[in-house]
Symmetry: C3
Subunit: 461 residues, 3 copies
């Protein structure tokens, strides 16, 4: 929150002396925006342009010269042109010798070129010190001053001193430089702004698919069935009742899917007798998005909690309860307390509360700033021990919720079992498999394999 | 959490050899506290003082010498005196030549002097390498060892090596140095500890004002009106019922105010036909505190959720429900299920739950550690797409809540409409304006303008 | 979340040229895992081994040579052997002169040796530049590529350039280096991965003890007493009712224990008349784990909220309410609204909601990434002002909950007061003491003492 104010500070006039001139090649939108911002932060700016005539769009305090003249005025030259036009720099090689060239370019596709733009630039002008920076910042954000998004600017380059100079400019503009090492990191830095939640695609598609399936499943059982057989209109179940069936089911299945790949990996390693062979590709990808799967599961669990807690203020529920009480009063009978029911109801709620509580704890520890403060041993403890405890509690919650309804024939409409029964399949498999893997006769060889031991060492050669 | 323990580690005796002597000018409270801490961390400490006689307050293991003698014993000299007394350093210029001077001073007001204290120090002793550091740490925190607050120490300076030396000391004391670049950053670093949530002032004042207005509005409608006309004492509404009206109203209005400046900015840019003119000052400031406005709105939304969920355990609500059921039973009639009401009630709750859920997601992505892991494209996607979806859901939640009461005369007491109707004005304006701006005839020129195109380029020259 | 993908990037073939050869001494599990990962990231790897014969486990693309031959091929040598075997390096001292030696070792116990492994290594090979790194990464995580835990690699060393080289390798492997300063930090870095939530031990043990005590206390009062005297089976209270008594009690007591040490410290300082004497050890430790105490208290408060909100959907509660309504209907009487009860019920709920809301705010500001964005003044404001307000609200919540039951004889079963009465003792002591300390006659000298003033300065010499 204070970052914004620090930004304002940097614009204060008293910091406007002493800065060294910066040259910008290219008078396109990004070059102009960067120039504007630099002038505001007290840097004298010189634009290098083909035409060398002042365009009306260029900030007034900036000079516009030919490329060669502009380059001679500054030690740092920002190359704000597109990669396709980089070859205009070749004739300038002599003037650019020893200068710091800042590559700010982005591509349109991930891994568009065999080498990164910055590395290509370094090849074109071998005498210059190339630094990659600023590509993650948008011209619009620079201009409007409303940098609410990440203020991190990734910087990489082979020359330490050149990198320091660029990082100082980044700081002066009110942004936070992050040193990503040598110029080899440029490819990664150039790919970064093109991603849109890459790790989230699979978990979200999977949960959308499952949501659609369970929605129609519940629609058939809970809305269409009573309409056909009892001619009752329960279409309003679509708003809360059915979502409150889907959410816990998805939360449970997705949570189990977080722990399934670990179990599969253990089985594969036990079967192969070595850890030195790569897992199948799908398993690798699955393992990489476990955190995202878990967070989507947590989202569904949170929705389930909210949907459950509003139950008593639903108009339908109030009607059902009051009509039941009225009929009791009219029939002049009072029900005694059914202790078994009280036990079932309370323990199923308690298990759900504890499971959700641990689930939220898991979610909090997966926040970047929290997991950075936790060492490997602590992280393993939380994610593995607490994670399995959460899975056990949530599965138990569902089992107790089922209670004595599992075998009741009324649970099967059109031979379709209650949806929650389907949700128990995956978690039960995971828990049983994990339970089996804990036995010493399996746990011991697995530990040995993970420490590097091999059953049949011949094939790895 | 492990930071605390790392602090303990640094005090362990086995690290107490090898450190280089540090000199501290000034035996005031902060100088002594820093000296204490450095001795604990294994640094030999020499105090430079006017009187050169050991005071009882100075740590026992430290030497106290004259300024000149003390300065000669160390490569790093911490200037723990106030800016007004810096001129005693001028005669020492020769001895201080080449030394690292650490400016730890703070001011009483933001931007108190034209240049920062550290820059002033650098002017006074031109031969020394001035580094700004430690000004964000309090003497009390250093002394008591309970550094629960931020352990970040901002460091800036023009000499890389001097900065590294100071950063090593910072680390040795169990704190985290943060390189803020050259000495130009000193002004900002000196202003930093004087701020008290500067970006939060406007959102909090605004919400306090709106809260007061809506409190009295609801008091008149819900407590005074029934007291005057029906002689009923509903004063206890002040505890929950009225807050539960105010909270959702403020959440909705503030959320709409987050998106209003963006719409205004687009209108201004379309009207002006350029992006190269600054927005009016109030709009700039408004845009800078959108995140804070959103978070205050989220706080009100969370309170609304809590207030709503306790409804069924309120004594008044239980009484109302039971007396309604008893009267039904006594009148010997059972109400049939009103499907329309069930639909309205359920869909209004479902919209609220989904809106709140997305709102919490927005809040989580605004956590610094999360938004740092998100690139510009992803941030835009979350804050703009998800943000508008949240606004739409919350507005729909309020509209459906109103349901068929909008035109009912009972909603107007003393010609005052229900408070929630007032809350709909701003969000509806924002949504309609945004909807209009999406039309290609407006969206296209706007995109062009934001890419640097100008309708009347003459004026900018 | 993007970190994972950046990891994938680093494995792309186009970055596999240009890297400098790295030598690894030791072909154990960690050495091999690191070698695998480095080869994947494009580093030519040479293993130095006693036997110098290729083992089947060693990555195929790596060479295996004798120690001396391998060392000559690379500027960076990773020492992946255990500390006990370091003495094989002494005869190689000449070859290792000027090389960068990376110590990756860990110990089995905290502070196992008088000096850290890295410092021991630096003593053994005085001509080499020793850098400590990689000890916080596990071989299993490196191999499986699923580095979901912290990607931070702590790096320390006395030679800046050597440290930079190692940090570049760390970045190339997709990890985040964190410069911890000179080699003196090695001890702390080596202790780090051995910790398991050291600051949480005391708060968790304390809360487990208190939980056990209050569980049996409530069991006697709420389950055994009615069973003995009224022969009623309320054993199902164990699931929700009793936890929902224990949770608020523990939340309140632990929250008060967060503020008690501050009050005690003030009293001790006032009594001693100085701040220059260390607090007793137990008070120091207590103060260091206040954050953890507060977070455990918040966990209990959250559970209390969840347990409370499910009350209306508990089977027992529904039965109790409906049987009460039925008996009212059968007795043909309607209760009038009891305004006092409505006031008590609503204000107790409202106090609880506000208290919990502030408590959650306190918890959010204690997230590392948030507290890092807050300066000392802001942190003090939140933790002290908001903290005390939370304590006041929560204590008031409990007092109003008690309402007029404090003196009712039915509250005392077997002479045991209601459990919530016990929970009020500590918070009331803290609030009264704090209230007394605010009086100017005590606040003034305390402020002076904290600014360094002493009542009897003689003893400190």
């Amino acid at each position: 929150m204070n970052k914004n104010s620090s930004n304002k500070m940097a614009l204060a006039p008293n910091t406007s002396n002493k800065r060294e001139t910066v040259c910008i090649f290219g008078t396109g939108d990004f070059g102009r925006a960067l120039g504007h911002k630099m002038i505001q932060s007290g840097y004298p700016v010189v634009f290098g342009s083909r035409s060398a005539q002042t365009s009306s769009l260029i900030p007034k305090d900036a000079e516009v010269l030919s490329h060669a003249e502009a380059a001679q005025k500054a030690a740092i030259i920002i190359i704000a042109v597109q990669r396709q036009h980089y070859n205009f720099l070749t004739p300038l090689a002599e003037i650019l010798h020893g200068k710091v060239l800042v590559d700010v370019s982005n591509n349109l596709k991930i891994n568009q070129y065999p080498e990164s733009n910055a590395e290509y630039l370094a090849q074109l002008v071998p005498g210059a010190k190339v630094v990659k920076a600023f590509n993650t910042v948008s011209a619009w954000a620079l201009q409007s001053g409303t940098l609410d998004a990440s203020r991190q600017v990734f910087v990489c380059g082979d020359d330490m001193e050149a990198k320091q100079m660029v990082m100082d400019i980044v700081r002066a503009l009110g942004l936070t430089p992050l040193d990503k090492g040598s110029l080899l990191a440029a490819q990664e830095i150039e790919n970064y702004p093109l991603q849109l939640f890459p790790m989230w695609k699979f978990p979200i598609l999977l949960s959308l698919g499952l949501t659609a399936f369970f929605f129609f499943y519940c629609l058939i059982r809970d809305v269409i069935y009573p309409y056909v057989y009892e001619n009752k209109d329960f279409s309003f179940f679509i708003a809360i009742s059915i979502p409150n069936r889907i959410c816990p089911i998805l939360a449970l299945i997705l949570l189990a899917l977080v722990y399934l790949p670990g179990v599969l990996a253990a089985v594969i390693q036990l079967y192969r007798g070595t850890k030195y062979r790569r897992f199948p590709d799908w398993l690798d990808k699955w393992m990489l998005c476990r955190k995202q799967l878990g967070l989507v599961a947590l989202a569904f669990a949170s929705l389930h909690v909210l949907y459950t807690l509003v139950i008593p203020i639903r108009s339908f529920v109030r009607w059902r309860i009051s009509s039941r009480i009225v009929s009791q009063a009219l029939n002049n009978k009072t029900e005694p307390l059914n202790t078994t029911n009280a036990w079932l109801s309370d323990s199923y709620l308690a298990l759900g509360i504890l499971g959700f509580f641990l689930f939220v704890l898991l979610g909090i520890t997966s926040l970047p700033s929290v997991s950075n403060n936790v060492n490997w041993r602590e992280f393993r403890f939380v994610q593995s021990k607490l994670g399995y405890l959460t899975l056990i509690l949530c599965t138990a919650h569902t089992l107790v919720y089922g209670g004595n309804r599992f075998l009741s024939p009324s649970s099967y409409r059109w031979y379709l079992p209650n949806a929650y029964m389907l949700s128990l399949i995956v978690p039960c498999i995971v828990l049983v498999a994990k339970f089996v893997l804990i036995f010493p006769c399996l746990d011991k060889p697995l530990t040995q394999i993970r420490q590097g031991w091999e059953r049949k060492p011949q094939y790895s050669e």
